[in-house]
């Protein structure tokens, strides 16, 4: 497993968040999640402007094997979606923390206590490997 980006926050559901300068957050799934799912073949994205509750279904990623829900790790409204995933869902496999981002959300505030640091998430991955 490659190094986790140090500037992101992580969730138990193997998602990552990046705090952008404008106060929004960008969300994707981690390399571990992408590898577990296998080659992605379809991503169902939310509508821009849609309100999403914390823990609500935000997107669906489908691999050759199975469909998997992506739950919103924060509440907010959808500011942008990665349209390129419609034609090239494998960007998530190739670059999960970069070109494979899924959604950008406008949020009121971020409760970081519910999220994991890179170290904490790495520990979770290490435990999964055991």
């Amino acid at each position: 497993m490659s190094e986790l980006p140090g500037d992101l926050l992580y969730t138990n559901d193997h998602e990552w968040l990046r705090r952008e300068d404008d106060g929004s957050v960008t969300i994707g799934i981690t390399g571990h999640a992408a590898t577990s799912l296998g080659d992605l073949v379809y991503v169902e994205l939310p509508e821009v402007g849609q309100d999403v509750e914390l823990g609500g279904e935000m997107a669906v990623v489908e691999s050759v094997k199975a469909a998997s829900d992506v739950y919103a790790p924060v509440a907010g409204s959808v500011a942008a979606v990665n349209e390129e995933l419609a034609d090239d869902p494998e960007k998530i496999n190739a670059d999960p923390y970069g070109d494979g981002w899924i959604v950008r959300m406008k949020i009121e505030g971020l409760d970081e206590s519910e999220l994991m640091s890179p170290d904490a998430y790495q520990q979770l991955l290490d435990e999964l490997d055991d």
Binding site: G38, D39, V41, Y42, V64, A66, A67
Partner: protein, 363 residues
């Protein structure tokens, strides 16, 4: 820990993601299922299928026994090595398993049945074999691989003992042959050319290494499933089971109705169904909207009723989602599938979806 084939260490060495499959620790993929799939369509791939169950049948009445045991008719087999695909039915006409029988002689046949159905198959076969004095011998000590793809035979040929190589290369589709203590057959489960090769377990590692060194891609169960789906080959347990007859699983072509006086298990039940007007169709579907069809999704056919996807997935070759499905009787060529509360449009297409590297449907 599940059962392990002679190739298990090789899978781990090649970086396989191991999953449980009917009690066996088997490779799902070795990194990218799609790349493995494409390798088989365009070049060559090798699958470990040692978990499958090989059963040798031997006895003076072996031919008579098999004519009673399975729905296809082994009397069609007259040439050495010829293979026959068939279903083994219960009295109600449900499918106990689908299998391949190889004809060695009128007194000797080899069957290859599924791994997940091993115990019930052996029990069923043995139960009926007694009356015919046929010996049923499981060959669990043997390893088996499938080498598949347009270049599979060419790349695998050097693994075969020189004295048998020419004969193996000359095998016609759906024929097999003994090659010393090996058995080589031009069969498979991918819709591509290739061989299935049975060998003593001691040979398994060496052959595996040689194939990989020759550029043959190791392929897991994931690619095996998408390849067989594109080829519209049924999967036992998904497309049919003991509650489904071959007539509702697209397998009527494997039922030998003639001669009419041949009695086989399940015959009376499927003859009744054959005459029934409301017998469900088994069809191929192409998804016209975006998304992915999956097993067990509900199909809605307006004016006809509901059906179900039995095998659904994404076709790497077509770049769209395809499925096999059981749907209501009737004349129609469009339907809708319920995916996460939405109805998506599908078109009924003539299968196979893909064969020998070529897309065979209108996309």
């Amino acid at each position: 820990m599940g059962s392990r084939t002679p190739h298990y260490d090789k899978h781990v060495e090649a970086g396989a993601r191991i999953v449980d499959f009917g009690g066996w620790d088997m490779p799902l993929h070795y990194g990218s299922q799609k790349e493995e799939h494409q390798a088989v369509r365009q070049n060559a791939g090798v699958f470990d299928v040692s978990h499958m169950t090989i059963v040798d049948l031997c006895g003076n009445r072996a031919r008579e026994f098999l004519r009673f045991l399975v729905a296809n008719d082994v009397a069609k087999l007259k040439e050495y090595g010829k293979a026959l695909y068939t279903c083994m039915l219960n009295e109600d006409g449900g499918v106990i398993d689908d299998l391949i029988v190889y004809y060695i002689s009128d007194t000797d046949y080899r069957m290859v049945v599924n791994a997940s159905t091993r115990e019930k198959d052996l029990a069923w076969i043995s139960k009926h074999a007694g009356a015919f004095d046929v010996d049923v011998v499981e060959r669990a000590e043997l390893a088996m691989i499938a080498v598949q793809g347009p270049r599979a035979r060419e790349l695998a040929a050097p693994c075969i003992a020189a004295e048998y190589r020419d004969a193996a290369m000359a095998l016609r589709p759906f024929f097999g042959m003994d090659a010393g203590d090996w058995f080589i057959a031009r069969t498979g489960y991918t819709g591509e050319d290739g061989w299935e090769i049975v060998m003593p377990a001691a040979a398994a590692h060496g052959v595996w290494d040689r194939l990989l060194a020759a550029g043959v891609e190791p392929c897991g169960l994931g690619a095996r499933d998408t390849l067989r789906l594109e080829a519209a080959m049924n999967l036992y347990g998904s497309d049919m089971d003991e509650t489904i007859s071959p007539l509702e699983a697209g397998l009527e072509w494997t039922v030998a109705w003639e001669p009419a006086d041949r009695d086989f298990i399940g015959r009376a039940a499927i003859e009744r169904q054959r005459e029934s007007a409301d017998r469900r169709r088994f069809v191929g579907l192409l998804l016209e909207d975006k998304g992915v069809l999956r097993n067990h999704q509900k199909i809605v056919v307006e004016g006809f009723g509901e059906g179900e996807i039995t095998s659904g997935g994404f076709s790497p070759t077509i770049g769209r989602s395809i499925a096999l499905a059981r749907v209501p009787a009737g004349d129609y060529d469009r339907a809708q599938v319920e995916v996460r509360g939405k109805l998506l449009n599908v078109r009924i297409v003539k299968t196979p979806f893909v064969r020998n590297g070529q897309v065979r449907i209108d996309v």
